[in-house]
């Protein structure tokens, strides 16, 4: 009999909270008591953040100058056709009427420049750039990576190192900044150390462990558009050459949008008021694709560089939240007090 009873209930489902769908649960409702205070709080918080961002941004200085040289009046007009003018130099003068507090960051900027093009962006060989010598040689058309085409081999089938469009098109204008002190040009020291990401410098990009570095590049050619091979990018600092050259790293970190700035140098002490002259060695052609070249000086805060968008956006959204909380309050009251409300 006992056995039979066991048999009788063998099909009985388990009585657990899960199988019976009775898991303990919290069933939140968007009630007026939650939503309206939420909006008020969010609104106030957003306005607070917005004000902070906005004020901070207001206190930042940005000095941006175009030196493309499209207009005839531009000092770099003469250089704007770099094919004709090799090693053309031009200089840009500007005046600061008050101290530009340091550290000041010195950027170059490009517009209408699509570093975010896919084919362009992937045109590099990560193995090569991480210093793997196997990728420095021609090996049955497998290395360097085929994405580097058409900057993979030169006409003699010698591998290009670093290969690919991205490296090939590296920005090669250089700048020197002078302060005019009583008619005397005094060079402002530009700090080029550590302007790239730490991870890029230390992990992602590595030079082959060959000493001297140039030996690693035996049997390779420099990128077609480059004037100097990779191991000679910085003549002043031998440690700043090869794939871990700071300017190279900055360039290789491609931008998200077609108008971008890239960090060029840091001016640690800031720029005192006065007249300045920026000497540009104008090499990089942009006129062909209607691009613009710019330089920018900016200081930064906890929130980064000057950008009022976020502050304003916060203010607008915060205010809208407050307005909506009032609207919702009114509607809620109207709804609850009107006689036909169900």
């Amino acid at each position: 009999m006992q056995k039979k009873e066991n048999q009788e209930v063998e099909n009985r489902p388990d009585n657990t909270a899960f199988t019976q769908q009775r898991l303990p649960a919290w069933q939140p409702i968007l009630s007026a008591g939650i939503v309206i205070p939420l909006f008020v709080l969010v609104g106030l918080a957003f306005i607070g953040i917005g004000v902070a961002l906005f004020v901070t941004s207001r206190n930042l200085h940005v000095l941006e100058m175009d030196y493309t040289g499209v207009e005839k009046t531009s000092p770099c007009f003469s250089c704007s056709d770099p094919i004709k003018q090799k090693n053309c130099k031009c200089s840009l003068s500007f005046e600061l009427d008050k101290l530009f507090e340091g550290p000041v960051f010195f950027y170059y900027g490009l517009t209408n420049y699509f570093q975010n093009q896919r084919a362009y962006g992937v045109s590099k060989d990560y193995n090569q750039l991480s210093g793997d010598l196997d990728y420095f040689t021609f090996f049955f058309s497998i290395v360097p990576d085929s994405t580097c085409k058409p900057y993979r081999y030169d006409v003699n089938n010698k591998p290009i190192v670093p290969c690919g469009s991205l490296a090939n098109s590296m920005f090669n204008d250089t700048f020197n900044l002078y302060q005019m002190k009583n008619g005397v040009k005094e060079e402002v020291p530009l700090d080029g150390k550590g302007i790239s990401w730490w991870t890029d410098y230390n992990i992602k990009y590595r030079n082959p462990s060959v000493n001297p570095l140039r030996n690693a590049f035996n049997g390779t050619v420099k990128p077609l558009y480059w004037s100097k091979p990779a191991y000679e990018l910085d003549p002043t600092d031998t440690a700043n050459n090869g794939f871990i050259n700071q300017d190279f790293l900055v360039w290789m970190r491609r931008s998200a949008l077609p108008n971008f700035r890239k960090l060029y140098r840091r001016i640690t002490d800031g720029l005192p008021a006065g007249n300045y002259s920026l000497e540009i060695s104008y090499n990089y052609p942009v006129i062909a694709f209607d691009g613009k070249k710019k330089v920018a000086f900016s200081n930064v805060s906890w929130m980064g560089g000057k950008n009022e968008f976020l502050g304003i956006a916060y203010l607008v959204i915060g205010s809208l939240c407050l307005v909506m909380s009032v609207v919702m309050l009114i509607i809620y009251h109207w709804r609850n007090s009107s006689p036909d409300a169900n």
Binding site: F114, Q115, R118, Y126
Partner: protein, 1161 residues
């Protein structure tokens, strides 16, 4: 004697089985060609093979199966596209990984299923049974059983094949075949050992309700039908030993023929979902084409001049556009979500499990849990508009109970006398212990022997009937009503003991009395009464009559007493929806009887119109009756039926009862199960017959059915209507048009065509026919309740398909028996009542449970939840994929229309966003089950399909567009010309990607949190877990270590750590998330405040009590208790067969029960 019918069907009997002759079945004439020249016997062995794969074929076959699905082919095509170097925009792994995961999950599921089947097959094939071999019964494995073998089955054995029952009377191998004939019954005593009978029967088929065959033995043919068969899949109970002859084995058995070939049903949501996937695909093509054109122009204007982009391929701008089109198809493929179908399947499987697990749908008495036999229809349960229900066995238990009576004006067991202790029958050794009666005073009255009327009352009950009895005092009644009445009399001490052709013996008190039966005036539906004329032992002749009150009252003698009080009691009984019968008697003098007897004899031999002549003769004697009293029988409903029906009606579900019963019975049941209520206007089919033709004949030919403007209501009176129609009336509407028939024939060749003979002879053109059908459906659907009586199984199915066709409504059929199979298969959802004897209904059903009342829970709770969950899931799923994919779209405008990629695409659908939404699809409850049941109105959104339709789809689309805009343009604005806090430009592509991806993950997970109305710790865990997994994986992928190992694949080194340590970017993320979610909260709140839905109201008033359900007062109605079949009067009077029902057989019928499908095939 009835050979004609058998011979008529002999032609289609191609199946020959010879008992005890294995070699016979290997004869060449029974060989069929299997493959090229290899021939095999057409008789399957009994080994079954339900598994699909073996070790070798698993991978190719399973892949083949899976690639039959369009979605998988689509992704395979994408994969191929990605291999083409000019086109590829995503690395091959972005598609391959999800595809492999999806295929893998499905394959694992299939593998597990198949392993289970392997195991099951093995276990079943190795089961033991006893087979007659070389004159002895020997134990054999099931797989070795062959057609023609005689097997011996013991109690609790599973039946190994479809076998012809040869029952055993004694252990020394003597068998008899019990034929179904009522007459001609004489057990053929055969020696099983020497049994050489040849059986000819129909070929194996899947019809569980049909079997025709003949048995040739000793040069005589004996007809066989389904009653002779024991089908594989059943279990022997209560019978110790029985024998059988294997007719169909293994794959030929009816249960195997039934398996797997079920008609594929799809849900509305399925269809909608497919259309939406097509819509998305079209959108995808459009978007890709637009972007390709953009790319063409961009290349023309900018790209061609940008020397730095030179790729040395020299393609023209338009060629590049063309390539970028395919590239975008690949990149944006996440719009067509690969994981959608798999996720939907997982959710449905979960819902089905929940149904199986539901304790509140578990019937403890029979140990039957609810069972979702298909896992693809769950959300359809939330959209039911019409329920078609069988009556007997579904609404009612088919148990009649003698509840009350009124004797000589005094009512017994009235509700006012509230006695809760049933009468103790221990004084009566014949008493049926199951019989319950509440009024002790009646027993006392009867036992005291003082009340002549009461004694007469029960004497009548024990004499005036057509019940037959066997040795064990088991009554065989033509209708359960009669059985109930005779049983009642038996309990009260008037025990019907025996009957012969012309005597009836009863036990009255202590003495046995035999009454000579002079005439039996049997019941038919016109007479609505039956009478018996008896000669008492003391020589008196008396007529006893019982019948419907309407016919009896017309025939009462003027002196009859108690007519008023009895009438009152009858009204009370009828109000309680009891089936009533009036009992009366009449003393007849010998002379009067003889005169009548002569007329009766004459009438019996009249050739023309004998029945009418007999009726007239009966009429002569059945008058001037003296009323004794009335009985009230309860047609016992299944538990909770009225409440369930009332609930379902409140949920705007129309319930149609389709029954083979007659009109009055059905109507009575309609009232008792509160399908019909007093505030309803009841229309009868015959009365409204003319309406469709007269008022609505003038319909322009051009109007197609289904597209017509909403017709004027048929019933002009306001208020509820109910319609009661009969099968005959339906026939006029239902028989199919010629053209359609032809189409039908083409479509399902080989199926039996419906009998089609216009009976009224009116020439009808197709249009008119169709118009009639439309009219009928329109009219019927205006009614709250429809009862169709006297309908055949075919008609049941036709009614269902009519409603499906013209109303485009979701229908559900529920039934328990073989006659409901058609209807169950036709409806969108078929529900079988399990735990009954038959298994046909369950076998063809989609859901099975033991009690009708579980339907309420199935629909209002599980159906509703499933629907809401599925809708929520789909809406959200589309939204999240739009939001995700369209960010690419916006980015394209700023990246020269070139498409971008990272690992994120691969993992987004798999890891970061799928779990919480899957859990919502599985667990979400907007209101709990109690409230769902208490407020049936909550069911309405499902019927209207208002939670998921094109409107919702486009809302999801726009929501996705909105969010993707925010996700792209807020970071865009924030990034435009800015610098990081340490002066480095953060506006690089990788930081941008990290910010947008993080925003997206936050938004998607918080949005699902907003949509989750039932927060369990699992949900919490999933949401937090998804975000955590996202950051975990991101930091992993962006870590130094992985880059060092795979420098070419993981190139985002340091992006996450660089980007996410900048407060500015966090503020950007916060703003993005805020702007995306706040408007949603605001809109939800406002719409809930201004246009609150029922669900919202219920949720906000969770605590309040629902008003108690009120039942309307019932009006006066009368019912009577004869059920549909004629009694055994013919048999009794002809004397052909006062036979003993063989016990083995009867026992078996009751003892076969369905065992879960998987266990026993």
């Amino acid at each position: 004697p009835t050979m004609n019918t058998c011979c008529a069907v002999l032609l289609e009997m191609g199946w020959k089985v010879k008992a005890n002759d294995r070699a016979y079945h290997q004869l060449p004439e029974f060989q069929k060609k299997v493959f090229l020249c290899i021939k095999k016997s057409r008789y399957s062995g009994n080994a079954i093979k339900t598994y699909k794969y073996n070790a070798l074929t698993f991978i190719p076959l399973n892949l083949y199966e899976q690639f039959k699905r369009v979605a998988n082919v689509y992704f395979l095509a994408l994969l191929i596209l990605q291999i083409i170097p000019d086109i590829t925009t995503l690395p091959w792994y972005t598609t391959l990984i999800p595809l492999v995961v999806v295929l893998g999950i499905t394959a694992i599921k299939d593998l597990v299923d198949d392993l289970a089947r392997h195991r099951m097959d093995k276990e079943i094939n190795n089961r033991k049974t006893e087979v007659l071999l070389d004159g002895r019964f020997e134990s054999a494995k099931w797989r070795d059983v062959q057609v023609g073998d005689v097997v011996r089955l013991k109690k609790n054995d599973f039946i190994p094949a479809d076998i012809l029952m040869l029952s055993s009377s004694n252990p020394n191998s003597l068998c008899y075949v019990e034929t179904a004939e009522l007459d001609g019954f004489d057990p053929l005593t055969l020696n099983c050992v020497g049994l050489t009978g040849l059986i000819e029967c129909e070929e194996p088929n899947n019809r569980l309700d049909k079997f025709i065959g003949t048995m040739l033995w000793n040069r005589e043919r004996y007809p066989l039908d389904l009653d002779n068969m024991l089908l594989r899949g059943c279990k022997i109970r209560n019978t110790d030993v029985c024998h059988g002859l294997v007719i169909f084995a293994g794959a030929d058995t009816k249960i195997m023929k039934n398996g797997g070939k079920t008609r594929f049903k799809r849900t509305k949501i399925d269809e909608l979902m497919n259309y939406m996937v097509y819509t998305i695909f079209a959108l995808l093509v459009l978007v890709a084409a637009g972007l390709a054109i953009g790319h063409t122009f961009w290349y023309d204007q900018i790209g061609a001049k940008a020397w730095y982009l030179f790729d040395g391929k020299g393609y023209s701008a338009s060629h590049r556009g063309f390539l970028s089109f395919w590239g975008y198809i690949i990149v944006l493929n996440t719009m067509v979500p690969i994981s959608l179908y798999v996720s939907v399947e997982v959710i449905r499987l979960g819902q089905s499990k929940f149904i199986n697990w539901d304790l509140q749908m578990y019937y403890a008495d029979k140990d039957t849990p609810a069972k979702a036999r298909t896992t693809t229809l769950n959300e359809q349960l939330g959209q039911i508009e019409y329920i078609f229900s069988d009556k007997t066995g579904t609404l009612t238990q088919n148990i009649m109970q003698f509840k009350k009576c009124t004797i000589a004006g005094r009512s017994y067991a009235d509700l006012s006398a509230r006695v809760f202790q049933p009468v103790d029958w221990s004084w009566n050794r014949y008493a049926d212990k199951m019989f319950q009666f509440m009024d002790h005073s009646l027993v006392a009255t009867v036992r005291s022997g003082k009340d002549k009327d009461a004694m007469e009352f029960f004497k009548l009950l024990s004499l005036c009937h057509t019940v037959m009895v066997d040795e064990d005092m088991v009554y065989q009644a033509a209708s359960p009503d009669e059985g109930a009445l005779v049983t009642a009399a038996r309990n009260f001490g008037y025990v019907f003991l025996n009957r012969t052709q012309d005597t009836i013996t009863i036990q009255e008190g202590d003495k046995e009395n035999s009454y000579e039966m002079l005439a039996l005036l049997d019941f038919n539906s016109d007479r609505k009464r039956m009478s018996i004329i008896l000669r008492f032992p003391d020589g008196r002749i008396r007529l006893y009559c019982k019948g419907a009150d309407t016919v009896i009252y017309e025939r009462l003698s003027a002196e009859s007493k108690h007519t008023k009080s009895t009438q009152t009691a009858l009204d009370i009984f009828a109000n309680e929806t009891l089936r009533t019968l009036c009992l009366c008697y009449k003393d007849i003098s010998a002379g009067e009887y003889e005169a009548w007897e002569r007329r009766h004899k004459e009438a019996q031999v009249v050739l023309a119109d004998r029945d009418a002549a007999l009726d007239r003769v009966y009429e002569d004697i059945e008058k001037n009756l003296m009323l004794i009293g009335a009985t009230a029988i309860e047609d016992k409903l299944q538990d909770g039926v009225p409440e369930t029906i009332a609930k379902l009606a409140k949920a705007d579900i129309k319930i149609w009862v389709l029954t083979g019963d007659k009109k009055e019975t059905a109507e009575n049941i309609g009232y008792s199960c509160s399908l019909l209520t007093d505030d309803m206007q009841i229309h009868y089919g015959e009365d409204v017959k003319s309406v469709p033709l007269t008022t609505r004949r003038v319909q322009p030919q051009s109007n197609r059915p289904g597209k017509r403007k909403p017709a004027d209501p048929f019933f002009t009176q306001t208020g509820k209507n109910a319609l009661i129609i009969t099968g005959g009336w339906l026939n006029e509407i239902l028989y199919e048009k010629k053209k359609k028939r032809r189409r039908l024939r083409l479509r399902r060749l080989g199926r039996r065509l419906p009998p089609s003979s216009p009976q009224d002879g009116q020439p009808m053109n197709d249009w008119e026919k169709e118009q009639r059908q439309v009219d009928f459906v329109d009219m019927a659907c205006e009614c709250e309740a429809v009862i169709c009586c006297r309908v055949t199984p075919k008609q049941k199915a036709n009614v269902v398909s009519l409603v499906k066709k013209y109303k485009k409504a979701v229908t559900l059929s529920i039934g328990d028996g073989a006659n409901d199979v058609n209807m169950i298969k036709t409806a969108d959802i078929g529900v079988g009542i399990s735990g009954q004897e038959g298994m046909q209904a369950v076998m063809s059903s989609d859901y099975a449970f033991a009690q009708f009342r579980y339907l309420e829970r199935l629909l209002l709770v599980h159906g509703r939840w499933s629907y809401i969950r599925m809708c929520k899931f789909l809406r959200f799923f589309f939204f999240k994929n739009f939001a995700f994919t369209l960010v690419h779209f916006w980015f394209s405008f700023f990246s020269g229309y070139s498409s971008q990629v990272n690992w994120f695409i691969t993992l987004y659908n798999l890891c970061y966003s799928s779990l919480p939404v899957l859990l919502v699809g599985l667990l979400d409850q907007d209101v709990n089950d109690k409230l769902s049941l208490r407020f049936p109105k909550l069911y309405l959104p499902g019927q209207q399909g208002s939670l998921f339709n094109y409107k919702n789809f486009f809302i999801s689309l726009f929501h996705g567009i909105f969010v993707s805009l925010i996700i792209f343009f807020i970071p865009y604005g924030a990034f435009l010309q800015t610098m990081g806090q340490d002066g480095e430009a953060p506006s690089d592509y990788q930081s941008f990607a990290v910010v947008t991806a993080s925003s997206l993950i936050f938004i998607v997970n918080l949005q699902i949190s907003l949509d989750t109305s039932y927060w369990t710790f699992v949900n919490c865990f999933a949401v937090l877990g998804s975000i955590a997994i996202y950051f975990g994986i991101m930091f992993d992928i962006h870590s130094a270590g992985i880059h060092v190992i795979f420098p070419a694949y993981f190139t985002f080194t340091g992006a996450a750590s660089n980007a996410l340590r900048q407060p500015y970017l966090w503020l950007t993320i916060v703003l993005t998330v805020g702007i995306s979610l706040l408007p949603v909260i605001c809109i939800q709140f406002l719409s809930k405040t201004i246009w609150p839905s029922v669900g919202d109201q219920v949720r906000s008033r969770r605590e309040e009590k629902a008003p108690a359900f009120q039942r309307g007062r019932r009006s006066r109605r009368s019912g009577y208790a004869f059920s549909h079949s004629q009694g055994y009067a013919d048999l009794i009077s002809s004397g052909r067969s006062i036979r003993r029902k063989p016990t083995g057989r009867a026992g078996l019928q009751q003892s076969i029960r369905e065992v879960p499908h998987a266990e026993n095939i």
